[in-house]
Symmetry: C2
């Protein structure tokens, strides 16, 4: 019979049964009570510790459940034979959380990734969310459709048709928490044993995702119309990743001729697909948005991917895939296997945001805000026309500055940096073999979404100082 030395603390927040349980468990783990030893009966231990019988019983039952004790009928509780107790020998040190490093600060940051949140209709979003959260919407807290809420998919279908010329039915639409997730899902649908062709420079983040997913990747040269289709044909790629409405980062709009050539390429062989990333087509400062390639596709070859992260807010993790009908049949099982990654509350909030006209108003407001910034930036950059030229400025929320005076990216970035302005190297977006060595390009990217109008004036003034310097 094992003598237990347990000193209970009746004032502790830890219940008495739990204190007893911990004492015995530790004694077993540390080898102070050995396998096969008998523990005192519940009655005896409760008398000894001056606690109720049920307190001791609870502690014993927990130890039984976890496998430290076994109960032998009519005899009592015995310590189990546990071989690998060495596991408990070393005590783990306290693992302190490590705080993440703060990025170094720059007064004027032309980041091409952010968006202007001044225009975000917090009030509306809050009100819509509040309404969705009302008690009579309890059903919304249950798991929804793996492909996303049907109502939202209907609304997106209508929006895409009207705004982007995309032709689809809601059943082709799959809602997911961000483009990265959807590319991940797509890799499950298509498999990763084929080559993806990308332009260079391109949206580097997508490239990294494909790389992580284990795809073979190749680069295809671009001309002024975008990806060269003859080179694509030669590349052996089965999938082409393109941004026809506004190539990132160059800003090229793919003309209809090239679009049709690209569609022809895809039609020529079974299993070829075009991934159309329509990431920021909403913002265009002259004329109406360029229609999506998907709307021209008659042969079910375009996989369309769009997002509300850019047009509403990055934290709203809602993107969508539009799958060709031909592909849909074979991947329905996969789609149904993965539960939706977007909360139904967010989906319904977005649905109302779109349906009630808030999104359209929001886009118009943002077009005005970005349009003004765009104009200011272009106007101010004219003062630098002796040393650089501006391209890719027709849409989106970034433009390119190419130096014509022999200054390299690296130098331009360092000089800007010294004046407290951060600009980004175009060469960072180059991929594949043609990638110039870091900093050797002559073009930098200026994203202007997150800077205010006043900041833009000041930032370009500083850039002029930095880049005009002898």
């Amino acid at each position: 019979m094992q003598e237990l030395t347990i000193s209970l603390n009746p004032k502790s927040k830890v219940p008495l049964y739990e204190q007893i349980y911990h004492y015995i468990k530790q004694d077993i783990q540390r080898g102070r009570i050995r396998a096969g030893e008998k523990l005192p009966s519940g009655r005896a231990l409760s008398a000894c510790l001056e606690v109720s019988r049920s307190t001791v019983d609870l502690a014993y039952e927990q130890l039984l459940s976890e496998g430290y004790l076994e109960s032998v009928p009519c005899k009592g509780y015995y310590v189990c034979q546990i071989e690998d107790l060495c596991h408990f020998k070393e005590e783990t040190e306290e693992r302190m959380p490590v705080l993440p490093g703060k990025e170094d600060f720059c007064a004027y940051d032309f980041t091409p990734r952010g968006i202007d949140l001044e225009g975000f209709p917090y009030g509306t979003w809050r009100k819509l969310t509040r309404n969705i959260l009302l008690d009579d919407n309890k059903e919304l807290f249950q798991l929804g459709d793996p492909k996303g809420e049907w109502e939202l998919r209907e609304t997106i279908t209508r929006y895409l048709y009207q705004a982007r010329g995309v032709k689809c039915s809601p059943k082709q639409v799959v809602i997911g928490a961000g483009n990265d997730y959807l590319l991940l899902l797509l890799s499950v649908i298509l498999g990763t044993d084929h080559r993806i062709a990308m332009e260079t420079p391109t949206y580097k983040h997508a490239y990294q995702i494909f790389e992580q997913l284990g795809y073979a990747l190749c680069t295809v040269p671009m001309d002024a119309s975008g990806m060269e289709v003859s080179a694509l044909e030669d590349s052996g790629a089965r999938i082409a990743y393109v941004m026809p409405s506004h190539q990132y980062p160059l800003g090229i709009v793919m003309p209809i001729k090239r679009r049709l050539e690209l569609l022809s390429w895809a039609s020529r062989e079974e299993g070829r697909y075009i991934i159309e990333d329509d990431y920021d087509s909403e913002f265009r400062y002259k004329g109406k948005p360029i229609p999506a390639l998907q709307g021209t596709d008659q042969r079910e070859k375009v996989i369309y991917i769009g997002t509300f992260s850019k047009s509403i807010a990055p934290a709203i993790r809602i993107s969508y895939l539009v799958l060709p009908n031909g592909l849909l049949g074979s991947c329905e099982e996969t789609l149904l296997s993965f539960s939706s990654t977007v909360s139904r509350i967010d989906q319904m909030t977005l649905n109302h945001f779109l349906k009630d006209g808030h999104f359209e108003r929001h886009l118009n407001r943002m077009r005005t805000i970005y349009g003004r910034k765009h104009e200011i930036l272009l106007g101010e950059l004219k003062k630098l026309s002796g040393i650089c030229k501006v391209t890719g400025e027709r849409a989106g929320v970034h433009l390119l500055v190419e130096f014509t005076n022999g200054m390299t990216e690296k130098e331009a970035i360092a000089r800007a940096r010294a004046e407290g302005v951060r600009v980004y190297p175009l060469s960072e977006y180059e991929i594949g073999a043609s990638k110039p060595r870091s900093g050797e390009g002559v073009t930098v990217i200026l994203g202007y979404a997150t800077l205010s109008e006043e900041e833009l004036f000041e930032a370009v003034k500083r850039l002029a100082g930095a880049w005009h310097a002898p």
Copy 2:
């Protein structure tokens, strides 16, 4: 020179420039204007249509942008050479949305998947969300940490230590939109070129996910302690997927001896891992929750996965991985490649829900609610003791009913169905070669989370009628 016949509608909501653009575009697409033809000058067309010059210019510029026209300096606008115009020949039929089918209805559904949402603190969740959405939290609408908000990861780390005995630092925690997504992410981290061992019966959904991801899968027999480690050793698997705190669906709690054996197995070879799915350990009706296997792991072999979908609400798409430090180093790049799938608003709402004690109160309330249902169901099922026995009833929100009178699953389900009660076959959860043919088992699953107390009384009464019938 091409004569254009354009009839404009000044009363239409469509801007005039867009009407002109559409007319010309259609004419090109349908071959009515041919490649190489010259269009009227902007001045001429504006005079002819009696619209302003800038209206025509806008239309022409849009057509230029999309590549239908090209501008020849000092000469004018010409229609481009576009080879594949056949693409436009066939007109797509209107693709009507197909409404999803409604599942057939059953008065009393013992679904093991749902949860009781009566206890969900809508008011609190709404209030927390509202506070998060206040204007001064604008930063929250920018993209957050790919691995999840640091604050939430800290809170989860503390919660896991206190409630589950999981030892980790926030840097090991990765937040994701649901378990399915995290298993997908894990497949990118670990690669899919190795075998995963699973118990049978098991959580079928995880099995299907692994199957979709292209893993080789094998089944390992279970005894009363869970997965048999000698059979696991023989299986050649590199990863074991287990639910040590409460095996689904059998409800087995893995005793400490078996846990240590399992950890020893993992330690014996480089690259072996245990995925611990701790899906519903919060609900236990006697004693305290069984600690997680992860807390016993001293050799960085356990990948822990947990979720708030079960304990809060399925629509709250927040799960988390706890990665071993050893693995973390090699997969940091992958983790940073994929943007977070959970909105920061939801993350911060959950963070406050946890930190302010709402979660603990919610869990206690749910334990009481489920505990009462559990008691009622067990009490009522006693009346059927002649024909079946109940197992797996110590935790979670489901139990198993095994027929001892020779009745098969199939028969039991059909009879219950005739009385308006739906119960679920255990055999559906069997995987691999040992899987009995559908309906031939003798055990059914009863999930009781979604049924009210009154419904439980009535449902078991109907089951008694159904199963006692001659």
